[in-house]
């Protein structure tokens, strides 16, 4: 009974959120509705005893990814309702509708046709994890993290701290003007580009020479082929130089 009530409430939360994402006029509201949907899903995961997945759903999806969405929305300044009327790709709304409807029909057909077709089982029974020690998957993961992988785990902690320190230093505003780019930089880059063109031509030539050397018997046929390869490489080099002039 409890299970059915929990499912019904969560399903309602998820569906209202999902409809809200596409119906809201303000992109920020859409992102908030998405969080609502993800939270509802997390509760459904708990009722399926997938506790770790539920935690990940909240921490990663609701916590991190939607926040990134919000960052992008606010950075680009598209948090106005009228921006939604612009269609960057012609016909994208129509195509999205078709794809969504097709997916829906496909899912309904799969469920109605044979509900056991996907996994071969209508529902999973029994807890996830090792029944003998009454372990659940959260504990299994925790044990793996703090025994076999504890070194990598602690190193990751250091890594995140360093990333924060570095981000603060880089984001901190500096006083004074930007330094000018040295005058010769552009010339250096141009010379660099020309050198790359030359190196490519010479590399082709060297490969041809290596291929000629690799020839087992060193017959006249192989050497003539190598000679013609050399010619093409020379031509390319000449072309490259001609292009520069």
């Amino acid at each position: 009974m409890v299970e059915i009530i929990v499912f019904a409430v969560c399903a309602a939360i998820v569906l209202v959120g999902a409809v809200g994402v596409i119906a809201a006029r303000n992109p920020v509201h859409s992102a908030l509705f998405l969080i609502q949907t993800l939270f509802g899903m997390a509760v459904l995961f708990i009722s399926l005893e997938a506790h770790f997945l539920a935690a990940v759903q909240v921490v990663v999806y609701a916590g991190a990814i939607v926040i990134l969405f919000l960052f992008v929305i606010m950075l680009l300044g598209v948090d106005q309702a009228e921006d939604l009327n612009i269609e960057p790709i012609v016909g994208q709304r129509f195509i999205a509708f078709i794809v969504g409807a097709a997916t829906f029909v496909l899912m309904v057909a799969t469920l109605a046709g044979s509900s056991d077709a996907i996994t071969g089982q209508r529902q999973a029974t029994g807890p996830l994890g090792d029944e003998l020690t009454d372990n659940n998957n959260v504990r299994e993961l925790a044990e793996a993290l703090f025994t076999d992988y504890v070194f990598a785990f602690e190193a990751t902690a250091i890594l995140l701290t360093i990333a924060v320190v570095g981000a603060v230093v880089l984001a901190k505003r500096t006083s004074g003007e930007m330094l000018p780019v040295p005058q010769n930089t552009l010339e250096i880059r141009e010379a660099d580009y020309q050198a790359r063109v030359d190196a490519r031509a010479a590399e082709l030539e060297a490969n041809a020479a290596a291929a000629a050397e690799a020839g087992e018997d060193g017959s006249a046929e192989a050497s003539s082929a190598a000679a013609s390869d050399d010619d093409t490489a020379d031509d390319e080099m000449a072309d490259a130089e001609g292009g520069d002039a």
């Binding site: 070194f151 360093i162 330094l179 010379a191 050198a195």
Partner: protein, 513 residues
């Protein structure tokens, strides 16, 4: 439905504490402690602590050498120390590489001391990030499973991205950092994809077990004569990810722009320590993780080595900026170091020993060259090759040092580089196959090409006139002088007494755990 499982459980299941060998982990812990101390000192004392941060970082690195030496001393009795089911191994190879990382890190700190203090930089965070990057490298040298390798790779990369953009007011430095970051993240993603394929196919993260599953069918236990496509793809992706790090062609495009835009000590750090860390990871993967799949990694390494040597050397010929010259020469050097991996499946021990001694010598001579560039730029304020003209007429000491480093990099006896190049060449030719001989020929030809541009720098130093006839001597601060003396001595000792380096680098095959 049972909600009780989600609540705290009353019956406490015994937690099997993993066995941690604190002696083996002490180098990492000391480095971490000093890194944290630097950050705290900065927060508490603010500007008053600035003058001590460089010294504190240097002391931290020297203290870290103590447990490495004691571990090396114990190695003959205890043998390799293995932790976490083989994920973390302390053996001869890892100790030697850790020592190389820490000593080259120390030289970089000596180079940074005045450069960072006199410039427009954030000081204590700089040294904190430098120590944490070195920590990542030290961890890398012991990592023998995919997860540890990836975390170590990120731990050494992320501080490097930020250090490359440390000259915050220079657009070039910003570009250097951004380019390095984007290419680095791209490489990480490719590598991670390869690792996930490896894990998916083998169900293991420990390198020795990955190797076992690469060599035999997981279901039937029969040995596989050739690899399945998905594993081939996985091996290639992982190797390509590290090829970015070591700037092997054709994945070298970030290197010249990053090197020339970053502050010079950071460039030295990227060109030496960071690159060696990439090679350490490659060596561990090839010799422990993929050793059964020589049919996949050998041709790949052959291509990477040949392309890096040819492209790096030919482009270096045309450079007008000494830092970009060093960047392309670094690409070519990467080709040299990759060459033994192309025959590693057949001449394992010899290939490994030759790579380790090359890395040790490469660190000394390359850091030295950057030290001279840094010292010369103190006067000229430029890194163009022309600014080196006539260096002998006003800074004879620097001129002699630069000549030593250039000829060492070119591999002229009796300086350090010749022994390194000789060993690489010997290992490659030893294998004796047609492709190995071709690679040997390419090594020889490229040594000659490289000699041309290294020698032309030396010619400018000795024969040309100083620009504008300005003969005021260069004032070299003590820390920079110490770095120069250290690197010159190391380059000369490695060259005159090759036994000194081969005695340490003659490591057996890496312990898998």
């Amino acid at each position: 439905m049972d909600f009780s499982a989600a609540l705290p459980v009353a019956d406490v299941v015994a937690f099997n504490r993993p066995a941690i060998d604190w002696h083996a982990a002490s180098p990492e812990l000391i480095l971490l402690g000093f890194g944290a101390l630097l950050t705290l000192v900065d927060v508490i004392f603010l500007d008053r602590a600035k003058q001590y941060t460089a010294a504190l970082a240097g002391i931290g690195l020297l203290v870290t050498m103590v447990p490495i030496l004691t571990l090396a001393n114990d190695m003959s009795e205890t043998g390799p120390r293995v932790m976490f089911d083989g994920a973390y191994v302390i053996d001869e190879f890892s100790l030697i590489m850790k020592a190389i990382f820490i000593l080259s890190g120390y030289v970089v700190i000596l180079l940074s001391t005045n450069y960072i203090a006199e410039g427009d930089y954030w000081e204590s965070e700089y040294y904190g990030l430098m120590l944490s990057a070195i920590l990542g490298m030290v961890v890398m040298a012991s990592s023998r499973d995919l997860i540890s390798i990836f975390v170590a790779f990120e731990l050494l990369s992320i501080p490097s991205y930020m250090l490359a953009t440390w000259k915050k007011r220079s657009l070039e430095s910003n570009e250097a950092g951004l380019k390095y970051y984007l290419m680095g993240v791209f490489a990480s993603a490719i590598m991670l994809y390869g690792m996930s394929l490896l894990f998916g196919a083998s169900g293991e993260t420990i390198l020795t077990k990955v190797n076992a599953s690469l060599s035999s069918d997981p279901l039937t236990g029969e040995s596989l004569s050739s690899s399945t496509p998905v594993l081939t793809l996985a091996v290639i992706f992982v190797i390509v990810g590290f090829a970015f790090k070591v700037s092997a062609a054709p994945f070298h495009n970030w290197a010249p722009d990053t090197y020339s835009g970053a502050p010079i000590p950071v460039t030295a750090f990227l060109a030496v320590a960071s690159k060696i860390a990439g090679f350490v990871a490659l060596v561990q993967l090839v010799f422990v993780g993929f050793y059964a799949r020589a049919d996949v990694f050998q041709p790949l390494m052959w291509i990477l080595a040949a392309a890096s040597m040819i492209i790096g050397n030919l482009i270096a010929l045309r450079q007008t900026d000494i830092v970009r010259l060093m960047a392309y020469s670094g690409v070519a050097q990467a080709g040299f170091i990759l060459a033994p991996l192309a025959v590693a499946g057949d001449v394992g021990d010899q290939a490994l020993a030759s790579i380790v001694s090359y890395l040790a010598i490469y660190a000394a001579m390359n850091l030295g060259a950057f030290a001279v560039i840094l010292a010369a730029a103190r006067k000229t304020g430029s890194t163009s090759i022309e600014s080196m003209n006539g260096l002998f007429s006003y800074a004879p000491g620097l001129a002699v040092a630069m000549t030593i480093f250039m000829f060492a990099l070119a591999g002229i006896p009796p300086l350090g580089g010749w022994f390194a190049k000789f060993q690489i060449f010997f290992a490659v030719v030893e294998q004796g196959g047609t492709w190995a001989i071709i690679l040997g020929v390419l090594l020889a030809v490229n040594s000659v090409i490289a000699l041309y541009y290294y020698a032309s720098v030396a010619r400018r130093i000795w024969a040309d006139q100083a620009p504008d006839g300005d003969l005021t001597p260069i004032r070299i601060p003590p820390s920079l002088g110490a770095a120069l003396v250290l690197t010159v001595v190391a380059t000369l000792v490695f060259g005159f007494l090759p036994g000194a380096v081969s005695q340490f680098t003659d490591v057996g095959l890496i312990a898998g755990g």
